[in-house]
């Protein structure tokens, strides 16, 4: 990891995607010469701020397209707008905040860090999540947290059908209605440690809800353990 040299690094760089390509922007963000970036005129372009590896701040003013802030490590990215498919996919650390809505597969396969979607997220939010924390201010679509392995998904609105289908050990917190839990996903008791971790996640996301309004969902652990009496079926 390259440390930023404080004296030779400028504080803020503004990048206008009306006159700069996404490739040029990402090359700058991969070897940053500033601590903070403002990105203007994203106009839904794909792959903005992908593959960041430095503790920089990136603010995107407008809607971003597919895979925004994918594979993020260490950086803090804010999108003042909505994002397309796969925001913060495979995030390792750092944070991504979307002030609008997110399309499908938000936070897919993420290993770490915090993804906050202040609006709603579409289908397959948190699919195959592996340690990321995702907090959604509104609703999530069907098949969210499909095969979720680790991490926490907090939904302050409603969740669509098939929530947590084939889930492993991720923990899901839903404040509103759940369309239907998926295979092997069940409602579980909210113990003190769950109230505490949910309260911390809501505080980190800057959302005012009372953890007591949420229900917890997780794995019934019937699906992913091999059972000897089922051996004839294999």
């Amino acid at each position: 990891m390259v440390a930023l040299n404080g004296s030779s690094v400028q504080e803020l760089m503004k990048v206008d995607l009306a006159s700069t390509s996404v490739r040029e922007l990402n090359a700058e963000l991969h070897a940053p010469t500033a601590r903070r970036y403002e990105v203007h005129n994203p106009r839904g372009a794909e792959a903005i701020a992908v593959g960041l590896r430095h503790a920089i701040e990136v603010e995107i003013h407008g809607p971003a397209g597919y895979y925004c802030a994918g594979m993020n490590m260490l950086a803090d990215v804010v999108v003042h707008g909505s994002v397309g498919t796969g925001v913060a996919e495979n995030m390792m650390s750092g944070s991504v905040r979307v002030r609008g809505d997110a399309s499908q597969s938000a936070g897919a396969t993420g290993h770490g860090g915090l993804l906050v979607v202040e609006g709603s997220a579409s289908m397959r939010c948190g699919i195959s999540m592996k340690g990321i924390d995702i907090v959604v201010g509104g609703d999530v679509g069907p098949m969210s947290a499909f095969m979720a392995q680790a991490g926490r998904l907090v939904v302050c609105g409603d969740a669509g059908d098939g929530l947590g289908d084939s889930i492993y050990e991720a923990r899901l917190y839903v404040r509103g209605r759940v369309g239907s839990p998926g295979a092997d996903c069940v409602e579980k008791e909210m113990r003190d440690e769950h109230v505490a971790e949910l309260g911390q996640l809501l505080a980190d996301a800057g959302l005012p809800h009372d953890p007591g309004e949420f229900r917890r969902f997780g794995s019934a652990r019937r699906l992913y353990h091999f059972a000897a009496h089922n051996s004839a079926a294999y």
Binding site: G44, E46, G65, S82, D101, Q104, M123, P142
Partner: protein, 226 residues
């Protein structure tokens, strides 16, 4: 992969601008479909169809699409996956005088539905799976269904992946399959309804910053009429 765009104008004052608004939408979908493209525009005289092989930019320029007026336009950029790259295989498929269908995805049971239609005397002119859906919807409409009902029949009969945009002289309808893995986004303002595979195709439209943006839910028909 393919790209879909559509523009349904509600404000007649925009009708002289139809082509100018529509061309950037189609060109934005070049990355999803660079091998051929097609479009249909609707005006008082009816539906006008252009299909050709090549880049959307070149096709729009060759036919001066930017100068076209009208109340509705639908377009498709194709990256062929299951049949040849020719202008006949390009979308939209237009089995009736005012019906256009564009499709992103692939149908897995189109061969059996094609045979069923053939037994009823409805022949396809290409081996493209999307044409089968167009002719299926045309049959439903000819038998008296309205467009929304015909689209729901697609859900019952067709298997596979699809985002469909289907237009008639008066209607504009969007449908996605139950997994909804082929993208779609709809923007609506007081002046227009616009649909595209990806948001950036809509980014140049007037008033897009204040538009109501919706990602269509699976298995739900979204339809507008004029």
């Amino acid at each position: 992969m393919c790209g879909i765009v559509g523009l349904h104008l509600k404000n007649p004052a925009l009708e002289p601008e139809l082509g100018r608004l529509f061309v950037p939408m189609l060109e934005a979908m070049t990355s999803r479909g660079p091998d051929s493209a097609g479009l249909a525009t609707y005006d008082a005289e009816g539906m006008h169809v252009i299909k050709d092989v090549g880049l959307p930019r070149d096709i729009c320029a060759a036919h001066d699409i930017a100068a076209r007026s009208g109340h509705q336009a639908v377009g498709h950029t194709r990256m062929a996956t299951e049949s040849a790259v020719t202008s006949d295989h390009a979308h939209p498929f237009t089995p009736l005088a005012d019906l256009a269908l564009v499709h992103n995805g692939s149908f897995s049971n189109h061969a059996s539905i094609r045979r069923t239609l053939a037994r009823q005397g409805i022949a396809c002119t290409t081996d493209n799976d999307s044409e089968v859906a167009a002719r299926f919807i045309a049959r439903e409409l000819t038998e008296g269904a309205d467009l929304e009902d015909a689209m729901r029949s697609v859900l019952k009969e067709f298997d596979g992946f699809f985002t469909l945009l289907v237009t008639s002289g008066t209607q504009f309808a969007v449908l996605r399959d139950s997994f909804a893995c082929k993208p779609a986004v709809i923007a609506e303002t007081a002046d227009y309804v616009a649909m595209a595979s990806e948001y950036h195709a809509l980014a140049e439209l007037p008033g897009i910053g204040d538009a109501r943006i919706v990602e269509p839910e699976p298995e739900r028909v979204y339809a507008w009429s004029r």
